[in-house]
Amino acid sequence: MEEQVQDPAQEAKRLQCCINDLVGVLALPAIWRGNEPSQIVQILLDVLLRMLDLEFAYARLNDAFDAMPVEILRVADYRKIDLPPQELRNILGDSLAADAQSSLQIRNRLGVEEISIFLVPLGLQAEIGVIVLGSNRVGFPEKADSLLLSVAANQASIGLQEARLLSEQKRIAAELEQRVAERTRALDQINAELRKEIAERKLAEQKLRQEERELKRSEVYKAAILDSSPDCIIAIDHEGHITEYNPAAELTFGYRRNDVLGKPLANVVIPPSLREKHRTGFARYLATGESKLLDRRIEMTALRADGSEFPVELTITRIPQDGAVAFTGHIRDITERKRSEDALRVAHAQAVRSEERWRSVFESSAVGVALADLNGRFIATNSIFQRMLGYTEQELQELTFIDITQEEDRNHNEALIRELLGGQRQQFQIEKQYRRKDGTFVWVRNNVSIVPGTEREPRYLMALSEDITQRKLSEEALAKARLELAKVASITSLGVLTASIAHEVNQPLSGIITNASTCLRMLSADPPNIDGARETVRRMIRDGNRASDVITRLRTLYSRKEPTLESMDLNEAAREVTALSLTEIQRNAVTLRQEFADDLPPALGDRIQLQQVILNLLRNAADAMSTIDDRPRELLVRTERDGGNQVRLSVKDSGVGFTTQTADKIFEAFYTTKTDGMGIGLSISRSIIEAHQGRLWATRNDGPGSTFSFSIPCWHEGLANAEIRVNRADPSMDAPHNDAA
């Protein structure tokens, strides 16, 4: 439309204003740089409202991301209205959809007058949005307005595009940042998880390695156990197939490991007769978990590769593992053990029979039997032994044999036991007295030996104990009788000796009488032979003394004194006896030799009794030589030490001797080889010597004749005050069981 030019000055002024406005619009981008689109639009709308003196200015911006459009409304200040943008959009209605840069006249609902509306698109196709301007000026928009608006719209479009781009960049940057942050967080989380996973994996690997090492060690152990086990070890799986087979099994069964691995156990080691039973049992276990064989030691028969069967001991164990069941069998070949058991059974049966026999002998023995340990404590005794002592077996087991042995016998008994235990003796015999439970004594003869120990039984002592009380009483009676006999014999021998003694006395008497006669004759002579008479008187005195000596000896020899054991000089006693017997000896043309030991210790004995023994031996020797004419009649009396604590006297003759047949009899009473003897001399002599704890014996000489010897204990200081057990054969003394009671 054509505008009519009015006043040129006014026009110039108006143009000047237009240019100013245009410059102002062109400067806008510098103001809104960096702002948000809404801010840009607000600034633009405010500038246009003021520049073009508009009623309102409205803009709608399409969102770049299909969000809701932004609407902004600016109203002229003087209108003093506060209208929300949505309200204006309702007012504008369809006019907003009109083509861009179009103008229309709509009724101004804001006021009374009409208002001109002008739409300015933002962007080529209004893709950015639209600006709606309202002015009550007629002719709005004029050309200058349109130009300004067009420039402003362009400027705004560019600015908005830039703002949009900037915003987009910001958004993208923010989004990117957010994504990066998220990504970073995710990465951190992943890293943390990764580190955790790595740590866990390391741990797991370590554990795995440890387990591997343990497994390896376990394998080595297992292999070592398997290889070195003396028992056969066979493992099977749930199907009964062999999975392990150790060297002992190879050796025992005769299969090689590789030949049997994987094969059914039943076909390899189980005898055909037991296979069905095995299969049934195995199946039952798999089905029910019940087994009578598991974890128990059982004995059964097994099969070797060569088909032979043999006894084994078997223990089946379930292998504790997950999954399918498996078992190990420990199998031991017990052939030898079975054989040993059988042998042992036989031996045991024999031992039982032997024990029964022995027990029978033990119980029915006629003598007492006692077993004691090496300390002497009774272990077992038979009924005879118990009856003999009046104790029960239990009571005896509380005692030692020393406890019940009479005190006087203990030392000797213990010494013998020591020798037995020390091996110096195989056995010994002792006669002693036991004290019975009731306090009385019983004489026993014990044969004691040591029973060798075995692996299980220690050595012990065995005593066979015989009650010899009756025998002892008989012996005592015999000894008494002997002593009576000895008295008779003594008297008899006194009679026999009388002649000899008479001779012994007569000899000096004869001298005295002869000398007296001679003396008288010498004194009666003229002149008297005084010197001769003195000589004869001297001889008379000498012979008188000699006779006196004989009488003294005789009195000593035959005086009845109580037998007493005391310290005595055996040489001296022998010397006296030989002096008394000299005449008798010489009458028989016997040469007497005496060899008395100079260092002979004192003996313990009864002097008179021992002299009787010596006299008896001398007489026997003289008698034994009375018929000997073809060789010298020689008699040797010798004394000497016998061992450490005995003295010995021997009478050796060159007489007829004795034969081995008579050797045992010569000490028996009433046995004699002489025509005029009673045969009691040696018997009595032996009784006397034995009562001295000594020994009398006879030996045949290398040459002719025999030697009779006795040995008796030496006297020693310790005996001085000790109670000496004297001659029990002597009736003048108490019976031994009485004095001990």
Binding site: A499, S500, A502, H503, E504, V505, N506, Q507, P508, L509, S510, G511, I512, I513, T514, N515, S517, T518, R521, M522, A525, N529, G532, E535, T536, R539, R542, D543, R546, T583, Q586, R587, N588, A589, V590, T591
Partner: protein, 138 residues
């Protein structure tokens, strides 16, 4: 008979040629000491020996006119010496002396020709009587 000479002869061992020699054989020393002195008191020459063997070896057997002989002696006994002398043809009267009363021996020696048998102790008278009897018989 001069006692002194008899004593003399006993002391120094020499003897008077007129005196008869009497011999004592006894193993007992007291007899050997006392008896010769008594015999010399009787007027005999006298010698003493301790054994039969000693007497037989003395060289005075032949001179001996009377033998006083002990019965029991070591070695050869009195009766054995009697036998030996008889075996040698020596007819010496023998008077046996003994301390033991043994009838068997007494009978034995008397049977063998003994001149006397005296039991010790005997008196000087008994001895002298026995010697005289013996010498007379011889």
């Amino acid at each position: 008979m001069p006692h002194s000479s008899a004593m003399q002869s006993s002391r120094d061992g020499s003897q008077d040629k007129n005196q008869l020699l009497s011999v004592v054989v006894d193993d007992d020393e007291s007899v050997r000491e006392s008896l010769p002195d008594l015999l010399r008191e009787f007027g005999f020459a006298a010698r003493a020996f301790s054994s039969a063997k000693e007497f037989l070896l003395s060289g005075c057997v032949d001179e001996t006119r009377c033998l006083i002989l002990d019965i029991a002696m070591p070695g050869m006994t009195g009766p054995e010496l009697q036998q030996e002398l008889k075996r040698r043809g020596k007819e010496i009267p023998i008077i046996f002396i003994t301390g033991r009363r043994d009838e068997t021996i007494r009978v034995q020696v008397l049977k063998q020709g003994a001149a006397g048998f005296l039991l010790k102790p005997f008196s000087d008278v008994a001895l002298l009587a026995a010697i005289k009897t013996a010498l007379r018989a011889n």
